[in-house]
């Protein structure tokens, strides 16, 4: 069931309601193409984000006829530099003066600037807007940031979880930029210049590529009036994103590494090449039905002590889509063979009806819980901007996923040749496992 559109005013303001979860939100489409989502909630703190559809994945793009290729890590670098103002002041200070707690992050498909506060929301919101609209990149501030980000890169390289993740990406994908860490490498960030940063900013920080999401005790009209004060009406030409051609099969079935750790870690990925927006709710249910902690697979690997820690996850985004199951195990290869056996069975027979019903119930409950946090709500509203799905109807969407839909999806997206593993072993123990190298 879709949320009811009860009002459509001249300024393109829509009130979306969902009676089942008793929630209401406002969606505004500004003339510039900027989308604004506001959910009013009786919380002491309000959370706002200003995000762009631009992440570490977007290293090659076309703008106004010119095809541009930039160094890895530039989206993340740009995010760091957006906090500087023309007079050299750090925008964190401006937020702090108001009592707002600000931050930002970059992932493979997005860059997001955010703050939360309990007082003076609209002043902090103005700081956020001005900051995102006013880039200041100079040779000096770029040089300074290269040192800081190089330290961030080294810190991440010391984390076995980081090695595990990026080796899995390298195993699954041959060309996809998700193989490279979001922050780039010490070498790639050394090639970043103010000119390149402006090029990326001008391409991706266009209003028709961006959204503002707010949750808290705030008024949509006031938010719109601030937006209108700072953001011009005119629409600009859209940037052309470069698609990444990669094969359906994995690039390398297994990548092994060593680190200073106590027990082998593994991460197994199933590439989902034929998933689309429509199948997104069914994907969540399918992942849960396969790897959830109520299911046979988990019962088997856990009760038989094949794994001691265990996690699972599904990624569905513009750059890539996959299921991931990981943890620690004395025998990562044995876990891999169990995942392959499960995949072969599911690709042929689908999942059991019981597993489907359990998974659906779990995913539904997860979605209901999102509405208890202003941060989660704002982040999910931004996710809905990226995917084009309605956030307010998400719980209902899961409610109406069918068994047949999930089984058909399983048969379409799961295949043994799309499975890869990354494993990290303690330095001296790599040979312990069946003599494998």
């Amino acid at each position: 069931m879709k949320g009811q559109v009860t009002e459509l005013t001249e300024n393109k303001m829509q009130i979306l309601k969902n009676g089942f979860v008793c929630e209401e939100m406002t969606k505004i489409t500004h003339k510039s193409g900027l989308e604004i989502f506001v959910m009013r909630k009786d919380f002491a703190s309000a959370y706002a984000l200003f995000g762009t559809r631009y992440g570490s994945f977007d290293n090659v793009f076309t703008l106004e006829g010119e095809r541009v290729s930039v160094p890895h890590g530039i989206a993340h670098f740009l995010e760091h530099k957006m906090f500087e103002t023309e007079d050299g002041q750090d925008t964190f200070e401006l937020f702090s003066e108001i009592g707002a707690d600000a931050n930002a992050y970059t992932s493979t498909d997005r860059t997001v600037y955010l703050f939360s506060c309990t007082e003076d929301f609209y002043s902090a919101f103005e700081v956020l807007i001005k900051m995102v609209l006013t880039p200041v990149f100079t040779k000096e501030n770029v040089n300074k940031e290269q040192g800081i980000i190089a330290q961030e890169i080294k810190m991440c390289e010391d984390r076995p979880s980081n090695t595990l993740h990026y080796n899995l990406m390298r195993a699954m994908y041959e060309k996809n930029p998700v193989r490279i860490p979001i922050a780039g490498t010490v070498e790639s960030i050394a090639r970043i210049t103010p000119e390149l940063l402006y090029k990326c900013y001008n391409a991706f920080y266009r209003m028709n590529n961006m959204a503002i999401c707010v949750c808290g005790d705030v008024e949509a009209e006031k938010i719109l009036s601030i937006v209108e004060r700072y953001i011009p009406d005119e629409k600009s030409e859209a940037v052309v994103f470069e698609e990444c051609e990669d094969t359906a099969a994995v690039f390398e079935p297994v990548i092994r590494a060593e680190a200073e750790i106590a027990k082998p870690l593994f991460s197994i990925g199933i590439k989902l090449c034929e998933a689309d927006n429509e199948s997104s709710p069914a994907l969540a249910v399918l992942c849960e039905a396969l790897f959830g902690t109520s299911e046979d697979f988990y019962g088997e690997v856990f009760e038989n002590e094949l794994v001691s820690s265990y996690n699972y996850y599904y990624e569905y985004s513009r750059p890539c889509s996959y299921f991931e199951v990981g943890g620690d195990s004395l025998s990562p290869d044995e876990v891999l063979s169990k995942v392959k056996a499960l995949a072969a069975s599911v690709a042929e027979n689908g999942v059991s009806r019981e597993a489907f019903e359990r998974a659906k119930r779990k995913v539904y409950a997860d979605t209901v819980r999102i509405f208890d946090s202003s941060e989660n709500i704002a982040e999910e509203m931004f996710e809905s901007f990226l995917t084009g799905e309605s956030f307010i109807d998400s719980a209902e969407r899961y409610r109406y996923v069918t068994y047949e839909e999930v089984c058909a999806l399983a048969k379409r997206v799961i295949a043994p040749e799309r499975i890869a593993m990354s494993a990290v072993y303690p330095r001296q123990r790599k040979d312990d496992e069946n003599g494998q190298q």
């Binding site: 010391d158 359990r358 208890d372």
Partner: protein, 430 residues
């Protein structure tokens, strides 16, 4: 958002935070017991074993399937600490019954029934817990302890704390040591369960939409918990801690394979009893925010590191400074940290604006506490156990009253007790 407390005949104290803000409900039982290595390992092995199965749901899969039927209710058993006390906690997170797809599904009552099964009808073999589960969980606990080295940032903080609190219960991790884990037996774990549930002080808290049905269910559940109270006092833990004293700074450099060094400094400071707001504001100005002295100078101005931050342990009057940086930049970073402490030791160097920003930040954190169903409840229980102020408005008023001189006094009293540096091994540095 009022908190109503009640003391049951069996000695359990309950607190109810009645709010309609959330779509979920939160409930926890917190038992306190003395922190010893043996208690920590037995309690941790017990917690993990209870999550493996009980008489009614003998495997983890059957347990999880039942919880899934309760709309993915999360019922976890955790071991944590509060100053000198070890905490054994049973925590329930569940969506409110009105969001269930079936009508009249009393999810809260059902989740309490599950807690009862898990805690009071565990899988036993006579006088001991299921030996296979206990042995399996001991192995898992040992793995977790050994895996501390995996995360270098956390490992460095842990090592520094072990050195700073050496010889006291504060140096004990909540899982104990590899030796104390190996000493756990199915019988000792079962005895720990009886000891905790029957003899240890217990604090229960509910947060969510407290309807009459829920009130009835909670009353019934808590009043029926069997406790050894007749004629004796329940065990209560002296929460105060005796801390080691250092005549001079203890310096430890540890070689560990890493691409980046990790520096952790442990400072003591003088505080006046349980008033925790001046150290809190010093922490905010010194290194706990992105506009702090450490962030703006060690990271932004000198570009020495990605992070350099402070964190105060108010209940112990200790402050940790931690940073990840190139091996050869340690002395430069250390000098800047000391310089900033020196500057903050004089009230004239703390601007009104800086103090105001710190106050706003902390006040905002407290004001936002009630936006989370579980966070406020957890915060309340911890403060209650440790005997600290639990009235958020009173804390906010105290923050507003702090002066620059109060902050400078904390800076002047700082004493560097332990300087820990995780150095790379030769190969890793090269």
């Amino acid at each position: 958002m009022k908190i109503i407390e009640k003391v049951y005949k069996n000695g359990i104290t309950s607190a109810v935070i009645d709010t309609k803000k959330f779509k979920k409900n939160y409930f926890s039982l917190t038992y306190t017991l003395p922190m010893t290595e043996s208690n920590a390992s037995n309690a941790s092995a017990l917690a993990a074993t209870l999550e493996r199965g009980c008489e009614k749901y003998p495997t983890v899969t059957l347990m999880n399937r039942h919880l899934c039927a309760l709309y993915d209710a999360s019922v976890g058993v955790y071991v944590s600490s509060c100053v000198n006390a070890l905490l054994f906690r049973v925590v329930v997170n569940i969506i409110d019954g009105k969001y269930a797809l079936e009508k009249d599904f009393d999810l809260f009552y059902e989740s309490l029934e599950f807690v009862k099964e898990m805690l009071f009808s565990p899988l036993t073999d006579g006088a001991e817990l299921n030996p296979a589960y206990v042995e399996s969980e001991k192995k898992r606990l040992s793995d977790i302890i050994k895996a501390d080295i995996n995360n270098k940032d956390r490992y460095a903080v842990k090592r520094c704390s072990e050195i700073a609190y050496e010889g006291t219960p504060l140096a004990i991790g909540t899982r104990g040591s590899l030796d104390s884990v190996s000493s756990v037996t199915p019988r000792s774990a079962y005895e720990m369960l009886k000891y905790i549930t029957e003899k240890c002080a217990c604090y229960a808290v509910f947060s969510g939409d407290f309807t009459e049905d829920k009130e009835r269910a909670l009353d019934k559940f808590l009043s029926e918990l069997s406790r050894e109270r007749e004629g004796k006092e329940l065990l209560s833990v002296d929460i105060g801690a005796t801390l080691p004293s250092f005549d001079k700074t203890k310096e430890v450099i540890e070689p560990v394979s890493a691409k980046q060094g990790r520096m952790v400094l442990s400072y003591s400071y003088e505080s006046d009893g349980k008033s925790d707001v001046a150290p809190m504001l010093f922490d905010e100005i010194f290194g706990a925010s992105p506009v702090s002295r450490l962030f703006m100078n060690v990271r932004e101005r000198l570009s020495l590191c990605y992070y350099c931050a402070s964190g105060a342990n108010i209940m112990l009057s200790r402050m940790l400074v931690r940073s990840g940086l190139d091996f050869e930049k340690r002395d430069e970073a250390m000098a800047e940290i000391k310089r900033q402490i020196g500057l903050l030791s004089e009230a004239k160097n703390i601007s009104d604006e800086e103090l105001m920003m710190a106050k706003k930040s902390r006040i905002s954190t407290y004001a936002a506490l009630k936006d989370s169903c579980s966070q406020y409840a957890d915060w309340y229980v911890m403060r209650r156990i440790a005997g600290y102020e639990t009235d958020v408005d009173a804390i906010i008023s105290a923050i507003e009253a702090v002066s620059a001189e109060d902050v400078a006094r904390i800076a002047r009293s700082l004493k560097l007790e332990v300087s820990y540096f995780l150095n790379g091994t030769e190969g890793a540095q090269a």
